[in-house]
């Protein structure tokens, strides 16, 4: 199995990037996994219940044991979550616990010292039951629980100095399908070796027991290794390989929606020129998304037509009417709205965005008859700093990959008023009606009921276009002849128990 080098050591609560999460997903079993209908179903949990979306009772299956043989208890979850949330520990996933009651005591923010070590919203009821109280109701909480940050930690993970032990980071002890065979020295080792844990109570793969993650720095190299059958699964084929991969791999090649999305961000808070919604609509209609997806991205992206990605429940095909390419209408609208004569398009030059940004610039130039300058920044952070300093007033490239597979995750962190300054609301969009609808969705006692409100909030975004959705990412993956039945789940991780020998 191909994997990029994990950014940090293998600590679940300090891993928010995909590579490390992929490795950890093999070692740990989440409380919920996602079924074919993209709904969360209990995995390590026996049941997850609530009556008001505020107090959640999680009952654990008693059959789960740590890889050292001891049973998994409710306190293992509470320990892990409290550790993650405590500000002094600087865990990158701490914000996942922001909705838990007492988070502000353990994580008061920059320059302040925590007043407690544990969140009062987490309670161990008995060995297999824990109760989570949130600050405010959140109907999607169950969906969140499938994520890496919510894995439990055994007592041995935290050393006597109160920090995560490096031994654990090299050879994490989990309660999942695979146990790590030998310590992984990050930066040195090129493989992470695992084998099936005998006492795992869930579904086990048939016919094979060993799993090896191979660390590649170049996706192209991994693709060559796959063709030479030295590698069995490659789940992020490089764009250069896509055109030939279908032909080389045949039905071993897959192309599926991936939950990420790419936008053109609009600095609503910093530049009044974009205030008129017609200007944004015109820009959106002037972008030829189909050609960009097909040519610039060689089909590895698809044209965006909603703020919610097709991989996630809640997506509505064609919802974004202003995302349809219509140059004539765009020009008319732009002129009557009096849009700016010159526009800058900011992008970070380190991530392969130059080509599509230039394509967008060409579209705008040709279709709106205005002057457009692509403006490279070395790093994405450079754009954000320039926005914060109010030095930069142009449009900017934005991307979002979800933290947990809920429609809500496309809304609150990017467009919620509360996400200005601390979250990822870089454009500074603020709309009371939108915030209220999201809050209503959060308060719903039923996830499906909540989704209705989220879609209404999405409707506001579609009407107002605070950002302009351009493309959805796709997963392009393939496997060798030695394996079959390789499937990705909602988190883009492989369902290992289903994989069979070819």
């Amino acid at each position: 199995m191909e994997v990029g080098e994990p950014q940090k050591m293998l600590y679940p609560q300090d891993t928010t990037e995909t590579e490390g999460a992929e490795v950890l997903a093999a070692v740990f079993s989440p409380l919920v996994r996602y079924d074919e209908n993209k709904q969360p179903v209990e995995e390590a949990a026996e049941s997850i219940t609530t009556t008001d979306s505020k107090v959640w009772t999680i009952k654990l299956k008693s059959s789960y044991t740590w890889h050292d043989g001891t049973p998994v208890k409710a306190e293992d979850y509470v320990r892990a979550w409290n550790f993650a949330a405590l500000q002094d520990n600087a865990m990158s996933s701490s914000y996942f616990f922001g909705r838990v009651d007492g988070y502000n005591d353990v994580h008061p923010g920059e320059g302040k010292t925590p007043t407690a070590k544990e969140m009062k919203g987490l309670k161990v009821v008995d060995d297999t039951t824990l109760e989570v109280t949130l600050t405010a109701p959140f109907s999607q909480f169950k969906t969140m629980l499938g994520y890496t940050a919510f894995y439990p930690l055994p007592a041995s993970a935290i050393g006597s100095d109160g920090k995560l032990s490096p031994t654990f980071g090299e050879k994490p002890i989990g309660q999942g399908l695979f146990k790590v065979d030998k310590p992984y020295k990050k930066g040195t080792d090129q493989t992470i070796e695992m084998s099936v844990y005998d006492k795992f109570p869930g579904k086990k793969p048939t016919g094979w027991t060993k799993l090896q993650f191979k660390v590649y720095t170049s996706s192209e190299t991994a693709w060559n290794d796959l063709q030479a059958e030295n590698l069995d699964i490659h789940d992020s084929l490089p764009a250069t390989a896509i055109s030939t991969a279908k032909q080389v791999l045949g039905d071993r090649y897959f192309d599926e929606p991936d939950a990420s999305i790419g936008y053109i961000g609009v600095p609503l808070k910093y530049n009044k020129e974009f205030e008129n919604v017609d200007v944004r609509k015109a820009i959106s209609m002037a972008i030829d998304r189909k050609t960009i997806s097909d040519t610039v991205f060689s089909g590895t992206r698809s044209p965006a037509d909603d703020f919610i990605n097709p991989a996630i429940p809640g997506y509505r095909q064609g919802a974004c009417t202003a995302c349809t390419y219509n140059p004539a209408e765009a020009k008319k609208l732009y002129e009557s709205a009096g849009g700016p004569k010159t526009i800058e398009l900011g992008y970070n030059a380190d991530g392969g965005h130059k080509e599509w940004i230039e394509a967008v610039a060409n579209n705008l130039r040709a279709n709106l008859g205005i002057e457009v300058t692509p403006k490279p920044f070395e790093k994405f952070q450079g754009i954000l700093d320039a926005l914060d300093a109010k030095e930069y007033k142009g449009l900017f490239r934005m991307g979002w990959s979800i933290d947990y597979p809920a429609a809500e995750n496309y809304l609150t962190p990017i467009f919620g008023t509360g996400a200005i300054g601390t979250g990822s609301n870089y454009g500074g969009y603020s709309n009371k009606e939108f915030d209220d609808l999201v809050a209503k969705g959060d308060q719903a006692t039923d996830a499906a009921e909540g989704l209705k409100f989220y879609q209404q909030a999405d409707d506001i975004l579609l009407k107002e276009l605070p950002y302009i959705p351009v493309y959805f990412y796709r997963s392009n993956f393939g496997h060798s002849t030695k394996v079959k039945n390789v499937k990705l789940n909602l988190l883009n991780q492989i369902n290992w128990a289903d994989v069979e020998k070819g």
Binding site: E5, Q7, K8, M9, T16, E17, Q87, D88, N89, A90, M91, S92, S94, Y95, H107, P108, G109, E110, G111, K112, P166, G169, K185, K186, G187, T188, D189, Q190, K214, V215, Y216, T217, S218, E220, T221, A222, N224, D225, Q227, A228, E229, N230, D350, F377, E378, K379, F380, Q381, G382, L384, D385, M398, G399, W400, S401, T422, G423, S424, Y426
Partner: protein, 314 residues
């Protein structure tokens, strides 16, 4: 000679300090916040970012940061830790062997192919063989390593196995032992082989014109003895200089080759660390590279005396 070696080693200290300080400044001047780089497109939680900055002394002035670093290295032999809290010395120790293996493979190939072809060309000067060797080295010099790397990987690594079933050249990684280094070693050596061939040819042609060669021939020595003992030995001096300096180049030039062939070496690490702005790792790597460069040059200087007894050290 002992004094000479010691003096040379003492001279290395200011070079080392100068080089690390320079690299430190360069890495420091790179745009972007290293902590933010850890969070991708998402905004880091300000409180978490603050704790991390504190932990890695990122809020301190540059010179103070440098002092923390260099005092650790000099007094405690501690090269610091990267953002994953892994000690840099541990990271480098593991990677170093790989790059050294690769560089030595390349150096050996370079020496054998370069000197051999150069010798052959020099002895066939002006004839078809000579012209052919000169033309092919020119071709080799003009193709970028990136291209030779990918083409050879595809043809010898992937296609050869698909067509014949023979697994001779591994596509990537170091799992096949020394065999893993053959292809990347050749790719890395490529350009240097070409230069060395040309250098050998010129140097030997030059030497063969010298008076003492004529004398040796006039004395009635065999051609083999004239060329081997008197010609080649003297022609070797510039070649050794080149090879010594080239070892350093090869170690540094491994960035591209190691990335193409997925070898977990210094070059690969340097690339990732610069991207992530992991100051301690970048500076540590460069320090080691500078050391190797200095040592390789020292060895070269000492070898001169072996080849030419007229050269003496004091």
């Amino acid at each position: 000679m002992g004094r000479y070696v010691i003096r040379r080693l003492i001279q290395a200290i200011p070079v080392l300090i100068g080089a690390t300080l320079l690299i430190f400044c360069i890495v420091f001047a790179l745009p972007g916040d290293p902590v933010a780089a850890l969070f991708g497109d998402k905004r880091p939680d300000p409180a978490v970012a603050e704790v991390l900055r504190e932990q890695y002394h990122l809020n301190d002035p540059l010179l103070l940061q440098y002092w923390y670093y260099i005092s650790g290295v000099l007094f405690r032999g501690d090269f610091g830790v990267n953002f994953a809290q892994v000690p840099v010395s541990e990271i480098l120790a593991g990677k170093f062997q790989v790059t050294l293996n690769l560089a030595l493979t390349a150096l050996i190939m370079e020496a054998i192919l370069g000197v051999g072809l150069g010798l052959w060309a020099a002895l066939r000067r002006g004839r078809a063989t000579d012209t052919m060797i000169l033309a092919s080295t020119l071709l080799l010099i003009s193709i970028p390593t990136l291209v030779t790397g990918f083409v050879l990987q595809l043809v010898l690594g992937v296609k050869l196995k698909q067509w014949t079933g023979l697994d001779i050249f591994p596509v990537a990684g170091v799992f096949a032992g020394l065999r893993s280094y053959l292809l990347p070693g050749f790719v890395l050596a490529g350009v240097s082989v070409a230069y060395l061939t040309r250098l050998t040819r010129t140097s030997l042609v030059e030497t063969l014109r010298a008076d003492y060669i004529r004398t040796a021939t006039a004395k009635g020595l065999s051609r083999r003895r004239v060329i081997g003992r008197h010609g080649l030995r003297n022609a070797l001096i510039p070649l050794i200089t080149y090879l010594g300096a080239d070892l350093g180049n090869l170690m540094g030039g491994a960035v591209i080759t190691e990335t193409i062939f997925n070898l977990p070496g210094i070059g690969n690490q340097l690339f990732t660390s610069v991207y992530l702005r992991e100051q301690p790792v970048v500076v540590g790597t460069i320090t080691v590279l500078v050391l190797i460069y200095i040592l390789a040059n020292l060895v070269v200087d000492l070898l001169y005396a072996v080849l030419d007894p007229r050269i003496r050290y004091e």
